[in-house]
């Protein structure tokens, strides 16, 4: 009977939100694979926080709350933040983690300053800070889902076009550079794709949790395969799965926010993958250890 109650919940609005979350999970799962493999899992966290001043400036300049304009502002700020991180790492001895932390927190702080400025002008039509931080999946409209679909689709197509180059960048950057690939340009391209995925996700899951949407599906997918192609595909599927199941679960009871539920669903997928994945998984590993122990005992007992 539980199934039936879920089905009756499946009204139109919910379907829109679920489709949006699924698209978002697909895009961020696929692109997040690269971030995880390059050990830049937390770049998403930095970009999503760094986007705040961009949103505020876009609003201050245009006075409009049109999603596309705010998204553009967010993308530009997130992108600038990433460039700053890259140049700090390249030009100073400050390591990646510190550069990330500085850009993340100070850009966000600057955004907060701008936000209080907006608030003070008494403009009722202000960009909600809560929405930015936690997202409001429930407010996703058909046109938002369309935007996610189109921009996310473009990002995925670009990823497929540069498949070979990005693969090389991820696994052997030095080799890529030595055979003449413009690694810095590719780095910026990959980051730009991540920026697109993150900015699209801000409205649905918010800045704080967006990084999980990039990391969790990719980490889960990594446990099942050693091939990039399969990993990206699986991550996209896991992302979509987390998006849909999170949306449905949060709709079954009142006052369960969608974004955090999606993140918890993705985390559950990671937990299951780490436990059960063949070859790499913990349970598999335990079985192999026992078999090895038994074999060793048998071998040694012969002598």
């Amino acid at each position: 009977m539980e199934n039936l109650s879920i089905l009756t919940h499946f009204d139109y609005t919910l379907m829109i939100v679920a489709v949006g979350a699924a698209l978002l999970g697909t895009v961020s799962g696929a692109l997040g694979s690269y971030a995880v493999l390059r050990r830049q899992s937390l770049l998403g966290d930095a970009i999503s926080h760094a986007a705040l001043p961009g949103i505020a400036i876009a609003f201050l300049l245009t006075g409009s709350k049109t999603p596309l304009i705010l998204v553009l502002g967010a993308a530009i700020a997130g992108w600038l933040g990433t460039l700053l991180i890259m140049s700090i790492v390249r030009l100073t001895r400050i390591k990646y983690d510190s550069a990330l932390a500085i850009v993340l927190s100070t850009f966000f702080g600057f955004g907060l300053v701008l936000h209080t400025l907006i608030q003070r002008t008494g403009n009722a039509n202000q960009a909600g800070l809560d929405t930015f931080l936690f997202g409001q999946a429930a407010t996703l409209l058909e046109r938002d889902v369309l935007t996610i679909g189109i921009l996310g689709g473009i990002a995925l197509v670009v990823m497929l076009i540069f498949w070979k180059e990005l693969k090389l960048l991820v696994f052997d950057e030095g080799f890529a550079a030595s055979i003449g690939f413009p690694t810095r340009t590719l780095d910026i391209l990959l980051t730009s794709l991540l920026v697109v995925a993150i900015v699209l996700g801000l409205q649905a899951v918010g800045a704080v949790l967006m990084s999980a949407m990039l990391v969790a599906p990719a980490v889960a997918a990594r446990q099942w395969t050693d091939r990039l192609r399969l990993m990206v595909f699986l991550a996209a599927c896991f992302g979509a799965l987390a998006g849909v199941s999170g949306t449905i679960i949060s709709s079954t009871a009142s006052r369960i926010p969608t974004g955090p539920t999606i993140v918890l669903c993705a985390t559950v997928v990671v937990g299951l993958s780490i436990a059960f994945a063949p070859n790499r998984g913990l349970i598999w590993d335990r079985i192999r250890q026992q078999r090895n122990r038994r074999n060793l005992k048998m071998e040694t007992s012969r002598y």
Binding site: S98, I102, S105, G109, L117, L133, V208, P260, T267, V270
Partner: protein, 369 residues
């Protein structure tokens, strides 16, 4: 009015200094993002303790939150130890999950209690002094000042007492282990301090901006010095400068204090990044420019030296044709000749360029090298 300024300023300064001390070691040990993770992951701890006590300023809250912070570190390490997940991904998995639990708990059960998400995440320094410590009716000052003051003293004691151990573990963990110092113990000690500091500071500046206070000043100081002791002192000073300047900007423009402090952290970091001697961006650019001219000058004197005293010397050292012999751009060649003339490596003899004694030495040295 003045009292209000003083209260907020003193809280800001004490918080900045308290965050900078453990921050130095996080920056050096490449674990800065643990502070980001801890500052988010303490949320469920705060929420649960809040449900139990019903009081946002109860000491139990700080303990529970700090416990959750340490738990985060344990989770991250456990995930890493499976060897299935790298450190960055382990952090990126752990804190959003814990944070999500916190958010769900709040929206599910705290609908009618006062626990504002914004306050946890963003903090509001302007309200901090409203919470006064009163004993027998006499006002002893704002509570957050005492909380952060205590944490500052704790951090100071930890850093001073374990200075040698921290230094060793930070710069050579395997040597430390070989000598019998436990890197794990020091690590968890440090992480406990980071948790406690984060929890104490979130009240004043919010959990995201704690990261600015922990990472910003030590990274700025790292650009300025090679000595650990100097870096610690500089970090504390820079933290205070950020706090004070941020506060005044916030006051002048009537904006978020914590946000303004974070903005000042970025501005001062970028300034130092640009102008610091030897390692700054400007110094690097100038060094590159100087090296370019010196290299060209060396090429020029070597060229002159090679043909000196030989029959073709007259054509090879004609100023007007030099660019062809060296295959340089004519304009560039002129500038190099001017540079070399000003350094007295060469001198002009009618249409010829001849080496001075100094120039000859340079050429000889360069060839020997």
């Amino acid at each position: 009015m003045l009292q209000g300024h003083l209260d907020i300023l003193s809280i800001a300064i004490v918080t900045a200094a308290a965050c900078a001390l453990p921050g130095v070691f996080l920056v050096l040990r490449r674990m800065t993002l643990m502070s980001d993770a801890i500052s988010h992951a303490i949320l469920p701890g705060i929420v649960i303790a809040f449900f139990l006590t019903g009081n946002l300023s109860s000491p139990l809250l700080i303990l529970a939150a700090a416990g959750t912070g340490v738990l985060t570190v344990v989770f991250v390490e456990l995930l890493q130890r499976t060897k299935l997940v790298k450190e960055d991904a382990a952090i990126g998995l752990t804190f959003p999950a814990l944070f999500s639990i916190g958010v769900i708990l709040i929206s599910r059960f705290a609908g009618n209690v006062h626990l504002d998400m914004d306050v946890v995440l963003l903090g509001e320094l302007a309200y901090a002094p409203l919470n006064r410590l009163k004993i027998f009716g006499s006002d002893l000052g704002p509570v957050p000042l005492y909380v952060m003051g205590t944490i500052l003293v704790l951090n100071l004691i930890f850093v001073v007492v374990f200075y040698k151990e921290l230094k060793l573990v930070t710069f050579d963990a395997s040597l430390a282990a070989a000598l019998g110092f436990s890197p794990t113990l020091i690590h968890y000690g440090l992480m406990t301090l980071v948790s406690v500091t984060t929890v104490g500071a979130f009240d004043a500046v919010g959990s995201i901006l704690v990261v600015a206070l922990i990472a910003g000043p030590p990274a700025t100081a790292y650009l300025m010095t090679d000595r650990l002791s100097r870096m610690i002192i500089l970090s504390a000073i820079i933290g205070c400068v950020n706090a004070v300047s941020g506060y005044w900007i916030a006051f002048l423009f009537d904006v978020s204090i914590a946000g303004a402090i974070a903005t000042m952290t970025l501005i001062i970091f970028v300034l130092v990044f640009l102008v610091v001697p030897n390692r700054g961006l400007i110094a690097i650019a100038r060094r590159h420019a100087r090296q370019k001219w010196e290299f060209a000058q060396t090429m020029l004197v070597i060229h002159l030296f090679n043909h000196e005293g030989l029959p073709e010397a007259e054509t090879e050292s004609a100023i007007a044709d030099l660019h062809e012999h060296l295959s340089w751009d004519p304009g560039f060649t002129n500038q190099v000749v001017k540079y070399a003339l000003s350094n007295r490596c060469v001198s002009r003899k009618e249409t010829q360029l001849i080496l001075t004694a100094h120039g000859r030495t340079i050429a000889q040295q360069a060839l020997v090298q």
